[in-house]
Every structure is written in structure tokens, then in C-alpha cells.
């Protein structure tokens, strides 16, 4: 099990700012009100100064796949779509289990904030930052395992995505000890602190698609990550 503490570098903070602006709906056609800009700048500085993001991951081999799902030492990953992706991978197949968090400081700041625009800005900064932090944690295992061995990997896939129920948090929390980085699960399988991500990825010699969308026939899915037409032949 590996723990990582990604650094909030200048380039990461710049990315955070750009992504947050985009998520809040600002583009070249909309001028930002100076008061909103001030709120955003203050919130980013606060995030930079107070947050200590952390991540933890563990890599386990796939023991078997069948109609129940993907079997690992930690338990069964019950997603038919992800199983189909795993079954198409070539060579030894490994599952990376990971959990990342920004810690509870942002939740505390959000809870104590009365102003709605500030609440939204804090929420958006948190949502964008945890994605960037998780990218950094991914980079850690890619650098240690994937790249040196010339392997491939999928994009991350989380409980609640596609056909993987939120109860799937159980297998990730069995594979790891997220308590080491301060992450707990509620009885409804929701993570606290709220700005946390749990996910898996598949690593193999050959991973044919980065996401299981290739095996999904659902039309107009708002969460589709691969263009439908390109992978039509695989859709049953």
C-alpha cells in the first residue's frame, strides 16, 4: 500500500483556476465581476494555504472474472461493463485501488460559509482540485508500475459509475485502509470528507479501451466518455 501527498505546485494551482472558471461558466464571452474574481482568488489562496491533499493506493492481481464480477483478494468488483473491459485486456491483469482526499478543512470552510456565491466557489474549487490531486496520485503509480514495464491502463472508474453500485465502495475500502488518510464511509457508502475520490483502474499489457463505454449500448448517456460510433461494433 502506497500513500502519496501531492504538492500543490504553481502549475497545478493555475490548472485549478482555469478548470474552476470553466466549471463556473466563465469563458471568453463573459466578463467576470470584480467581486466574484476577488472571492475566487481568496478561495484559491485559502485552498493553497490550508489543504494537505493525500492519496493511498494498492495494486492487486485479478484472480478471475465471471458473471459475479471481477474477483480480487479484496473482494468482487460487481460491474459487468468493467468486467467486460478487463476480460478483453491482454497479459497479467492488475487492479489499482485508490482513494484520495483534500481533508476536512474545505468541508469546515463550506459549512461555516453563509454566502451562496462563496459556497459555490468553494464547492467548485474542491471538486476540481480533488480531480487534479487524483491525477497526481495516478501519475505516481503510472511512473512506478505502468511506464517502466511498458504496460497500459484504463481511466479511473468509481463506484456509482455506470452499472457499478455505490456499495462497490466496500471492495475499495477492503483493499485499502483509507482511514490512514482520514477518509471514512457513511452507512450510505458516502465518503467523508466530502471532497474525496475512490476509484479503480485496470493495468495490463494491452488495455483495448480506456473506459467501459465501449460495451454500453445506452443512448444519450450524459456521462459517456467514449464516442458511441467509434465502438459500435462492440455494443451488443
Amino acid at each position: 500500500m502506497v500513500t502519496v501527498e501531492p504538492e500543490l505546485s504553481n502549475s497545478l494551482i493555475q490548472k485549478l483556476r482555469n478548470n474552476t472558471l470553466c466549471k463556473l461558466g466563465y469563458d471568453s464571452t463573459k466578463a467576470m465581476n470584480p467581486e466574484i474574481e476577488k472571492m475566487l482568488n481568496e478561495a484559491i489562496i485559502e485552498a493553497e494555504n490550508t489543504l494537505s491533499p493525500k492519496g493511498i493506493y494498492h495494486i492487486l492481481p485479478v484472480l478471475a472474472t465471471n458473471s459475479d464480477g471481477i474477483h480480487t483478494e479484496a473482494g468482487i468488483i460487481k460491474s459487468t461493463l468493467f468486467r467486460r473491459l478487463v476480460e478483453m485486456c491482454k497479459g497479467e491483469r492488475l487492479i489499482v485501488f485508490m482513494v484520495t482526499t483534500l481533508g476536512e478543512e474545505l468541508d469546515i470552510a463550506y459549512e461555516s460559509e453563509e454566502s451562496l456565491p462563496r459556497q459555490l466557489i468553494l464547492h467548485t474549487i474542491g471538486a476540481e482540485l480533488i480531480e487534479l490531486v487524483t491525477d497526481e496520485v495516478e501519475m505516481d503509480w503510472k511512473t512506478r508500475v505502468v511506464k517502466p514495464q511498458g504496460l497500459q491502463c484504463s481511466w479511473r472508474f468509481s463506484p456509482g459509475y455506470c452499472d457499478w453500485d455505490l456499495e462497490g465502495q466496500g471492495v475499495i475500502f477492503e483493499a485499502l485502509d483509507p482511514g490512514l488518510i482520514g477518509v471514512q464511509l457513511t452507512s450510505h457508502f458516502v465518503m467523508r470528507p466530502s471532497k474525496s475520490i475512490s476509484a479503480i483502474s485496470i493495468i495490463a499489457k494491452e488495455v483495448p479501451f480506456p473506459a467501459p463505454c465501449a460495451f454500453c449500448g445506452k443512448r444519450n448517456c450524459p456521462w459517456r466518455r467514449l464516442p458511441r460510433r467509434k465502438h459500435k461494433s462492440l455494443v451488443s
Binding site: 463556473l24 465581476n33 467581486e35 451562496l116 456565491p117 453500485d165 458516502v190
Partner: protein, 216 residues
């Protein structure tokens, strides 16, 4: 002193341009000029309406609308002296059990308050029985339910069914990322609000459906 129409226009502008503090001189000037609180309230809401329309046509960001709501709230508090209103349509709002996401609900609750609804905010992670009780105790005309997770949204169905038995005159409106109009209809809701921008119209339509006994 400037005339009433000019002062009210200024107030409206202060809200949508949000370049000044509502509680500052613009509002003071209007109050000192003896303008009736109802006229001031109308001007504030006109300012908000302007921003809401601009958000609908993607000219401004949601943050602009929220800043505008803050301005209007400050203004309304000033003219009411901070006292909660006993008027307005009673409305119960909350996020269903298991779901900790309350930002969307907070935004919607503030919009309802701004528009004069008497809002009873039950918070987040609210057990179904508390919604039913909240509606009965507050004689709510509207129940607004929010869920941001597909796992928790299913709880909405049983809440709607129970509310429809115990408080059949209450209009139930639902919203949240995993919900859509088809689901809302199949659960027996009276309305569905896709965004904060349209929630007022959708709520009004739901109230009318229930009042007239028109199926959705």
C-alpha cells in the same frame, strides 16, 4: 432628492450590476424618500429577474445570480428589519436521507425565500418520515425534494407516495442531478425542476396542477 422612479431604477440596477452594497446609500436613499417597502421589494426582484433572464440566455454565470440573490436578501432584510415574514406560500424543502449534497438545495431555498415563499428548510440527509411530518406541521402547499445521488433518489418515491396520502393538497416538486421529468412523473410528483433558473415557473405550474386537479 431624486424622484421615486429614478431611485427604484437605481435599486434595480444595483442588484443586477451588483456593483454596490444594497444596504448602502441606494437603499437608504429610497427609504429616506419615503418609497413604500413593497415598491422597493418589487424593484429588488426586478433586478433579480433581469439576472435570471440573462442566465437563461447564458450571458452571465450562476455565480452572478447567486451574488445577486445575496444583494436582494440584504435589501429585503433591511426593509423588513430582519423579521421573518408570516406571509407567503409555506414550502418544505430538504435533501433525502443518505445524501450529503446540499448546495443545490441551498440555492433553491434561497430563490424561494427571495420570491416570498415561507421556507421550512429541513436540511440534508433527512429521513422520509420527517418530510411527511414537516409538510403536515407547517401546512405546506409545496414540498421540494432534492437528491444528487442515484442511490438516494429512489427514496423520493416513497416520500411522495406518503405525502400524497397524508397531504393530498401539497404539490411535490423534485430536482437533482440524477432525476429527470420521466422519473418524477412515474413517482407521482407534480413537477420537476431541472435548474435553479426554471424552478419558480415549475413550482407555480405544479401548484396550479394540484389546485385544479389536473394530472401532470
Amino acid at each position: 432628492m431624486r424622484e421615486k422612479g429614478v431611485l427604484l431604477n437605481n435599486l434595480e440596477e444595483v442588484v443586477w450590476k451588483h456593483n454596490d452594497k444594497i444596504t448602502g446609500e441606494t437603499l437608504d436613499e429610497a427609504l429616506n424618500a419615503g418609497i413604500a417597502p413593497d415598491d422597493i421589494r418589487h424593484a429588488l426582484l426586478q433586478g433579480f429577474e433581469h439576472v435570471r433572464r440573462r442566465l437563461m440566455s447564458n450571458e452571465v454565470s450562476i455565480v452572478d445570480m447567486l451574488l445577486c440573490i445575496d444583494r436582494v436578501t440584504e435589501g429585503l432584510n433591511s426593509i423588513s428589519g430582519g423579521k421573518a415574514t408570516e406571509e407567503g406560500i409555506p414550502l418544505v424543502i430538504g435533501v433525502v436521507e443518505g445524501d450529503p449534497h446540499d448546495l443545490g438545495k441551498n440555492i433553491i431555498a434561497r430563490i424561494y425565500k427571495t420570491y416570498g415563499y415561507r421556507v421550512f428548510d429541513l436540511g440534508r440527509d433527512v429521513p422520509g418520515k420527517l418530510f411527511v411530518k414537516g409538510v403536515q406541521e407547517n401546512k405546506a402547499n409545496v414540498l421540494a425534494l432534492s437528491a444528487m445521488m442515484s442511490t438516494t433518489m429512489v427514496e423520493m418515491r416513497s416520500i411522495i407516495q406518503e405525502v400524497k396520502v397524508k397531504s393530498p393538497d401539497t404539490a411535490v416538486i423534485v430536482g437533482g442531478a440524477p432525476v429527470d421529468e420521466t422519473l418524477a412523473k412515474s413517482w407521482g410528483a407534480d413537477g420537476y425542476a431541472e435548474t435553479a433558473v426554471t424552478v419558480l415557473e415549475e413550482t407555480q405550474a405544479a401548484i396550479e396542477r394540484v389546485r385544479e386537479g389536473i394530472p401532470w
